[in-house]
């Protein structure tokens, strides 16, 4: 193609798009946020929550593994021994200070992968703009879900923050934590893990395997019922 022909071909492409958009009103790829919301992928990395067990106990055991894993050094955890008469977590210790500086967080979810108890997970909420820096630091008050499983937010009256997104789980890889059936090891399975209690399993996850030994399947089923 000579330069003039190439030039005309290019001009034709843009003009075609113009006609299509101007007269047909079609072809635009813009999503008019915040009037329209993009459908977020299941693995979306949004704001963190700290989860509880179904009985209301906090999952966090104050081990600081998340803080160690965090590449942005934005997690601050202090653990202390559980009071023997009214324990906060089922473990030996619990996190009595838990802060994340979300202005520094890069939403990599390494903290989620590091956590041994699935205490910290991510949700789909991403609207966290603030007008001062102090509001970027989320403490245990906002991060920890309520005993009934409802999440907290710093700006509950924020018109753009859809708090429903806080209960939509990020779905992180179960293979990263000691949960799920051994038969599914290496496969990507999703656990909607925000809030408390157990969630419906992934399709096919709770069905017994055909080729498996009956007894083995039973033993494993028992395993997974004790699983959070």
């Amino acid at each position: 193609m000579g330069p003039v022909a190439a030039f005309l071909a290019g001009m034709k492409v843009t003009f075609g798009h113009f006609v299509r958009a101007f007269f047909g009103g079609k072809g635009e790829v813009t999503i008019r946020y915040p009037d329209e919301m993009r459908v977020k992928p299941q693995r979306f990395h949004g704001r963190h929550v700290l989860n509880r067990y179904p009985d209301g106990m906090e999952k966090c055991i104050g081990c600081e593994l998340c803080a160690g894993a965090c590449p942005a050094h934005c997690i601050y955890v202090r653990g202390t021994d559980n009071p023997p008469d009214e324990p906060v977590s089922p473990g030996e210790r619990y996190g009595f200070v838990y802060e994340i500086n979300l202005l520094r967080c890069i939403f990599c979810a390494l903290c989620v992968e590091a956590c041994p108890t699935e205490a910290i997970t991510m949700t789909q909420l991403f609207e966290m703009s603030t007008t001062n820096r102090a509001d970027g630091i989320y403490t245990k008050t906002e991060l920890l879900v309520n005993p009934d499983g409802t999440p907290n937010h710093m700006f509950t009256d924020d018109p753009y923050a859809d708090l429903g997104e806080l209960v939509k789980a990020d779905g992180w890889m179960r293979a990263a934590a000691p949960g799920g059936r051994a038969a599914y090891e290496g496969e990507t399975a999703w656990t909607p893990s925000a809030g408390i209690g157990s969630r419906p399993p992934e399709i096919g996850q709770s069905e017994p395997l055909e080729a498996e030994d009956e007894a083995e399947a039973e033993a494993e089923d028992e395993d997974s019922t004790t699983d959070g």
Binding site: F7, G10, M11, V13, T14, F15, H17, F18, A21, F22, G27, E28, V29, T30, R32
Partner: protein, 362 residues
């Protein structure tokens, strides 16, 4: 010249000034919308109907922003550059007729009111000289900023301006030779007749220079794009290489002036192309059929309609073409455009001489 003449001049100048400001507002919006459509986006959509007031908002933002003055600037020239860019931009348009003159009874006698800032008898020369002055603004801005990217932008501007101004001037000469005038109102008047030769057969084709001098028009338009530093010839402010080019060190209102000048220049260059090649404000007015007011406004409408078509081409080019490399720019200017313009000029000269003096062998 009495009081009324003076008032009329002042009114004309103010009207043109306001018109250019409004045009710039709409032009920036127009460009953003059209480019958005071409790129499958939606463009500004929030401020005002269809985002029309977006430019106003941007302009107000620039107006209230801090004007940072870097330490190493040559202060006098640094301040003068944006002013030097803006004034010629306004002055050029002053010579362009944008509507049919009409008569009005003022102060007891009928006066002809031109829809034109000033009907200079050297109109075209004035335009060419003013557009050269506008280049100084870019050069001075680059030089006085005291930093390397603006300097590179300024150096590029010099080279580009020299290369393309030659082509611009050469492409205009056939028009002058053909119409026999450098006064813009006369050039428009010349094109109002029916097309010569063909016009006797198909009477409604206007005598636009575009038809007979098409190569001139193409060269003029390309050179005009280069003169206004628009894509694909925007090497002067190539963002990816030179940050902002000559206006890197400008902020706030001073930057806004450069921005304003660029868009006014774009509009004026289209207006001049329309005047020289597309009959200016001429067009069917249906005098006597339509009310006098509408017939009087129609020429202005035709003028702006033609300008918008050319502006669309400007924007269309910008949305389509990548920026030229520097050597390509120079090669295109010196090896294609200028020889082409010269050859075409000679052809026209020979043809016109032939028509005027008859066969050379007779």
């Amino acid at each position: 010249m009495d009081g009324w003449d003076f008032i009329l001049i002042v009114i004309r100048v103010v009207v043109i000034f306001v018109m250019l400001m409004i045009t710039t507002l709409l032009l920036v919006w127009f460009e953003r919308k059209v480019v958005a459509d071409m790129q499958d986006r939606i463009g500004p959509a929030r401020a005002g109907p269809w985002g029309m007031l977006q430019t106003l908002a941007d302009g107000m933002k620039l107006f209230f922003k801090e004007q940072i003055t870097p330490r190493k600037v040559e202060f006098g020239l640094y301040i003068a550059a944006p002013i030097l860019a803006t004034i010629p931009a306004f002055l050029i348009f002053m010579t362009v007729p944008f509507g049919r003159p009409f008569t009005l009874n003022l102060g007891g006698e009928p006066r002809e009111i031109l829809l034109q800032g000033a009907d200079l008898n050297i109109g075209l020369l004035f335009i060419l000289s003013m557009s050269s002055i506008a280049v100084y603004a870019v050069v001075l801005a680059g030089w006085s900023s005291g930093s390397k990217y603006p300097l590179l932008g300024g150096v590029r501007a010099t080279a580009q301006a020299i290369s393309y101004e030659a082509a611009l001037g050469l492409s205009v000469i056939p028009v002058v030779m053909y119409t026999g005038s450098v006064q813009l109102s006369e050039i428009v008047e010349f094109q109002r007749a029916n097309l010569q030769f063909l016009g006797n057969v198909v009477p409604f084709i206007p005598n636009w220079n575009l038809f007979l001098l098409a190569p001139s028009f193409v060269i003029f338009f390309i050179a005009a794009v280069a003169e206004t530093n628009r894509a694909p010839f925007d090497l002067v402010e190539a963002e990816q290489e030179l940050v902002g080019g000559f206006h890197t060190e400008y902020s706030g209102l001073r930057f806004a002036l450069f921005f304003l000048a660029e868009y006014i220049n774009m509009f004026t260059m289209s207006a001049i192309a329309v005047t020289l090649f597309m009959g200016g404000w001429s067009g069917p007015t249906w005098d006597g059929v339509l009310p006098a007011l509408i017939s009087g406004v129609l020429p202005t409408f035709w003028f702006f309609a033609k300008v918008v078509v050319l502006l669309f081409v400007y924007v269309w080019l910008r949305a389509t073409l990548p920026r030229l490399r520097y050597d390509q720019l120079m090669e295109f200017g010196w090896k294609r455009l200028i020889p082409g313009a010269l050859a075409w000029l000679m052809i026209i000269a020979v043809v016109l001489a032939w028509r005027q003096f008859g066969n050379p062998w007779s």
